[in-house]
Symmetry: C2
Subunit: 343 residues, 2 copies
Amino acid sequence: MNLKQLSQMLGLSQTTVSRALNGYPEVNRETRERVLKAVRETGYRPNKAAQRLATGKAGSIGLVMPTSPGNSSDVHFSEFLTGLGEEALRHDFHFVLTPADPNDEVGALRRLAASGNVDALFVNYMRGHDPRLEMLKTLSIPFLVHGRSIGSEPDYPFLDLDNEAAFYDATKLLLQLGHRRFALLNGPIYLDFAIRRKNGMEAALAERGLTLDEACTSHTPMTDEQGLFAMERILQMEKEKRPTAVLCSSTVLALGAVRAVNQAGLKLGEDISLIAHDDVLTLLKPESFTVPLTTTRSSLRAAGVRIAERLIGEIKHTETFPSQELWKAELIVRASTGVAPAD
Amino acid sequence: MNLKQLSQMLGLSQTTVSRALNGYPEVNRETRERVLKAVRETGYRPNKAAQRLATGKAGSIGLVMPTSPGNSSDVHFSEFLTGLGEEALRHDFHFVLTPADPNDEVGALRRLAASGNVDALFVNYMRGHDPRLEMLKTLSIPFLVHGRSIGSEPDYPFLDLDNEAAFYDATKLLLQLGHRRFALLNGPIYLDFAIRRKNGMEAALAERGLTLDEACTSHTPMTDEQGLFAMERILQMEKEKRPTAVLCSSTVLALGAVRAVNQAGLKLGEDISLIAHDDVLTLLKPESFTVPLTTTRSSLRAAGVRIAERLIGEIKHTETFPSQELWKAELIVRASTGVAPAD
DNA sequence: AGAGGTAGCCAAAGCGCTTTGAGGAATGGG
DNA sequence: CCCATTCCTCAAAGCGCTTTGGCTACCTCT
């Protein structure tokens, strides 16, 4: 069933039927109702490809799925995706997901844009000096980035968490509790958020004349396994040199780190204080750790909702948003942080 | 840059250029190379919407994302998605993800198919007597289901895990270890896999004249929280009646369950034996639990790869696959299972 | 009554691609 | 030398939709 058949059936022109369906004013009320009734009865659905070809709008936003053989699936990514989906549902939008080799993200993005299948692009997992930015600016479709790219001109639309402030505040808290030796379990250092979190932490330390020991810093994929390894390594240091305060870039890393602490027979919140960044993952609630975790919290999913909202608004030209948003994380104190142990 | 411009640039007709690009034999080798060179230089990419309109093929497979406001993101789903993506990447396919209210999955599926945006459909989270099946059969595009639907005619293409056998075997193992009182922490009972796992477990018990106590059975969303609650409830029973063996439908449930066991001061593998089904989630490795978990294992991600492979093969008409596949889970014994404690 | 609007509808062009049906040029055979 | 054959190329139709630019009939106003 297509427009032609439908309009013949109704004894109307394609034009009129099309207008009736798309809410144009120059259609008689009765006619419109007749059309809508026929649509309901026949189950007619406009062909999206044709619609897209004619209008240039696709009702879809494109994103590159950072996946490659051997690469692990990422809870953070799917939490975010859930948020995107939640908002897209409200506007009858869908996503076009292009899986891409991480080494060819620029290419994948370009192909996606050129395919004419999407109205807007979204990118995340920003790196320092991210090469995708330059490419995106040359494109004619709107885009939005989640995160920022340190080292690039900040002239692109983004939504980011104030990672620097989050880790600055967290460090500050630990300093107030008397801690002097710190460790950081971070994400891969080429990622922008990891760089900024480290910066934030170092800034707070510097205020007290302290520095972050490289030996106590790890930059790894954010899995529980890596968290375990990194923490084990740190706990092997002599007690006098060993950090008493640890910052984790994800509750996932913290999951492993806490296990290491337990296995070493140490008490979280007494021997070792830990603050993790909490993306509000469904699976991993900091409050349901055996010792509830102090966290810097910002929901990834909420970010997804917001990003979809902005992107769709831009496509529909209905709303304008501040082009650059910086969210603050909440610092939530629970039992995993305590006064520094006496040496 | 479109076909018309490109062909004018080359002094060729659109036909010839199109044929050159799509590998038709009736194009001179030199001509073809000239065309390909121009494509490389200009960065020309065919418009997918137009291609789709002309050919009827879209190079994409559609899936409904089970998401709604307030609904939680699901690690199992994203693990699977990763597998799909991995395979799709190899064939330059992409996905169209339609987020849908779980109450309107049939509608979402129909819209997706009618939109003309996808070549094939994929569905999962099958229920008993699943209404989507009937709808899918009326559609003209191929589809594949992950899982099965108990109570429906088994005349549709599927890939499923032999859930019955997996839980039958697991139960059998526990019986051999002397356990007589069992509990089951299962997924929502309307889901097909949950029904079958329960059946498998009950079949093994029945062979010894045992039955599964309803009070020791829970059907919940598969989150760690639910696992914790369910297990806490079970551990409140009097010691003489309390189950000594527990089956979990997911390592995620097990995560909570194990926490409950620990909090009760019981020893896993001694006081309580536990077997979980392991979907090989990146985040949750059964071997890195404090007491490594005995599991029935089957990679969700591998299933994703296989499903994409079959779907894409069907679209391209290149390969035919057995239309129905039943995978076996591996039973892997670790430390969480032990001889039943003497009463 | 005639000018000027307006409401409601339509025919046709166009979006960028593939594919059909046909034609021109070169080659070979009788 | 002519016709058949092969190789390459082309013009044009068509995919299903939106949108432009009329057109007609009916009002309203003076």
